[in-house]
């Protein structure tokens, strides 16, 4: 019985670690999202005659203002979708984690009342 309990407990800690990882990932995505929003804002403030360059690897390439805006907008879209996905995954894992926790609590109660029928639910 004890080893079953330990197995379930380990599963719980696995869930906890997964949630932590997802949350740090989430923070990264949000930072990138904010940075891109910032860049788009700046690009929108520029006059049409402004020269924009993009750093691609070790080279600095000239891009048109519209190209740059499209680029950043696409990035924002992608990041937004990623953020949604991560949030959903966090929610799912949190639900699994809570369910497992409740199972463990019920299990513990059963262990403490081996002979009597457990009245508490």
């Amino acid at each position: 019985m004890n080893t079953d309990f330990e197995k379930e407990l380990r599963q719980l800690t696995i869930f906890q670690n997964e949630i932590k990882k997802l949350q740090t990932g989430q923070i990264d995505i949000v930072t990138k999202l904010n940075e891109s929003k910032f860049v788009l804002q700046e690009l929108k403030l520029l006059p049409k005659t402004a020269k924009v360059y993009q750093l691609v690897g070790p080279t600095l390439l000239e891009v048109t203002l519209n190209e740059a805006k499209e680029n950043v907008e696409n990035r924002l879209d992608l990041l937004g979708k990623e953020e949604k996905k991560t949030l959903e995954r966090i929610k799912e894992t949190q639900q699994k984690h809570d369910k497992k926790k409740n199972e463990l609590i019920a299990f513990q109660r059963k262990l403490m009342q081996p002979k009597n029928v457990p009245k508490k639910k």
């Binding site: 910032f38 700046e42 924009v52 360059y53 990035r75």
Partner: protein
């Protein structure tokens, strides 16, 4: 972050209060880190503004030392005092005139200052919640100690009566 009324705090036992205290302290550390980073960025911007001031038309063709590596400089002449490339993030650069660039950096400094003020405010709130948790924790620990001492006294009295 969350506002815990003292009613909620009183319902927690010392162990829970302790872990709450640790949580708040680690949040505080993170805020402090953000704040220092923002201040660093602000000083970076003011340095940039200072360097931009030397890009005046009267400095055209002035001799300069351009850095090749950290310890190697190349003598040259300042030929461009009109435009600069400003890094706006995510690998994008914009060519601007010196005046525009100065305005850009002044704008950025303002934004960074505002963010720093926000972080400072949150830090203060954090400090207050930490104080509240500490007060309740101390009170609970004291209560527990008093209870323990009271119980011990009762037991001793019982022993005396039995004799």
């Amino acid at each position: 972050m969350t506002n815990k009324s003292s009613f909620d705090l009183n319902n927690l036992n010392p162990l829970q209060l302790n872990s709450l205290k640790e949580q708040i302290s680690s949040e505080y550390q993170k805020y402090r880190q953000s704040y220092t980073q923002l201040l660093e960025i602000k000083s970076l911007y003011s340095n940039t503004l200072f360097s931009l001031e030397s890009l005046q038309p009267e400095n055209l063709n002035q001799p300069i030392l351009a850095p090749l590596t950290e310890s190697l400089y190349l003598p040259g002449k300042l030929t461009n005092v009109k435009s600069v490339l400003t890094d706006i993030g995510t690998n994008f650069f914009v060519e601007r005139g010196v005046k525009d660039a100065q305005e850009y950096f002044k704008r950025q400094t303002k934004i960074v200052e505002e963010k720093a003020q926000e972080v400072l405010k949150t830090m203060k709130q954090n400090e207050e919640s930490l104080k509240a948790v500490n007060t309740v924790l101390e009170r609970k620990v004291y209560q527990q100690q008093q209870k323990f001492v009271g119980q011990q006294q009762q037991q001793q009295q019982k022993k005396v009566l039995k004799k």
